[in-house]
Amino acid sequence: MLNTILKYTGLFILLIALQILLMNNIQFSGFVNPYIYILFILLLPFDTSSWLLLLLSFITGLIIDLTSGTLGLHVAATVFAGFLRPYVLNLISPREGYEKGELPGIQTYGFRWFITYILIIVAFHHIALFYLEVFRFEYFFRTLIRVILSTGFTVLFVIIIQVIFIRR
């Protein structure tokens, strides 16, 4: 139990540092803003209770907000993603259900399952994030393009990170 908590704290710090020091500095025409910190919420064990998921989402969002001067924005999007996670997991669950104590990952249920899982949640997270950031319908389609491109890159980075760092 303690081991798991330590591992996740390490993951948390790593992802936040990567996000702030590296990802926030990607300046590619304003259309690509990957937000990989969401991976922390995605990788929590299957049997994490919903309320803990929501609280952890809130804390993650708050820290990103406080370091990037956008108070409330990332909190709203991340809590939304954390809220959706159990429903998405339910939707795409394998026939025999999830095993207790397992962690979501490429190894667990295969590449296709993993990519469906992260794609859905990252897409919802980014939709909430970018539309709340702009907060007007005037730029609807441009924001949509930003959502799509950023989602693609976030998923790409998430898979890279998953492959490099998180093999147990």
Binding site: G30, S50, L54, S57, D65, L66, L71, A76, V79
Partner: protein
């Protein structure tokens, strides 16, 4: 009681979700005075500190550009000095108290954190209230406008970049003085839009656009950029695309402008409103 527990078991998560989202919305809505929150202030200072350290390391890569910029600025200043001195030799020139003549003081600051990839970009500067920075001060670079201070902490301050959907500034064509409002449409980080220029105005690409100084924030005549294209938009007005003279991607040293007459101007203006 059991009913209540059952209810909480069933809908507790949704309640918690709604509660947390409500907090998020409240935080977003209270954006302008969030520096009241102590925690956020402390964390902001910490992240600004980290950014400054990172910045110092990456700064070496842009030293050549910065040097060139400074040399260019020095040349301009030398030229200006020449003009002043040669004038004073011709005419008799009485020295008046500088406090009454000087309208602007410039504070040098460095951008320690800057983004251009969002729709609402902000710049963190390494000078704060202790250095005389206040809200609503203009931020200019060696090449032209940069932004406006929206928050000042004790050692750091945050400026709204000109590349922000909420940015508004009055600017004019320097050749004939027609002015309009300057905004960013979020598309191109090298271009701002100058709106409300009347149809009959004689325009050409390459015309210089500068600040007007009507708002008492920016000094008059600070370079914004040059006209890159223009088209008639709905009725009698041009929408003019202005190519920015400031390179926001390479932003480093900036000046904060203290307007010594600002309060007097605003007081007078508020009197007649």
């Amino acid at each position: 009681m059991r009913n209540l527990l059952n209810f909480l078991k069933k809908f507790g998560n949704i309640l918690l979700f709604v509660l947390l989202e409500a907090i998020a919305v409240y935080l977003m809505a209270s954006r302008p005075n969030y520096h009241n929150i102590k925690l956020s202030k402390a964390l902001n200072a910490t992240s600004a500190f980290v950014h400054e350290k990172v910045n110092r390391a990456t700064d070496y890569f842009s030293l050549v550009d910065i040097n060139e910029q400074l040399l260019k600025e020095n040349r301009e200043l030398r030229n200006a000095m020449q003009r002043i001195y040669s004038n004073s030799e011709i005419s008799t020139f009485s020295v008046t108290d500088s406090i009454y003549r000087q309208q602007y003081i410039y504070i040098l600051a460095r951008a320690v954190n800057n983004s251009v990839n969002k729709q609402k970009n902000y710049i963190t500067l390494n000078k704060g209230i202790l250095n005389g920075v206040r809200e609503n001060m203009a931020v200019i670079g060696p090449d032209g406008i940069v932004g406006i201070i929206i928050e000042a902490g004790s050692n750091y301050s945050i400026a709204m970049s000109a590349l922000n959907l909420d940015f508004r500034l009055s600017a004019r064509l320097s050749k004939n003085g027609y002015f309009g409002s300057l905004t960013w449409d979020g598309k191109d980080i090298n271009c701002l839009n100058l709106n409300e220029i009347p149809h009959h105005v004689n325009l050409a690409t390459g015309d210089t656009v500068e600040t007007t100084g009507y708002s008492a924030v920016f000094p008059e005549g600070i370079m914004v950029g040059t006209v890159s294209e223009f088209e008639v938009s709905g009725g009698d007005f041009y929408t003019v695309k202005v190519k920015l003279s400031t390179q926001f991607k390479k932003l480093n040293n900036v000046y904060l402008v203290v307007n010594l007459n600002k309060e007097e101007q605003q007081e007078l203006e508020s009197d007649i409103r």
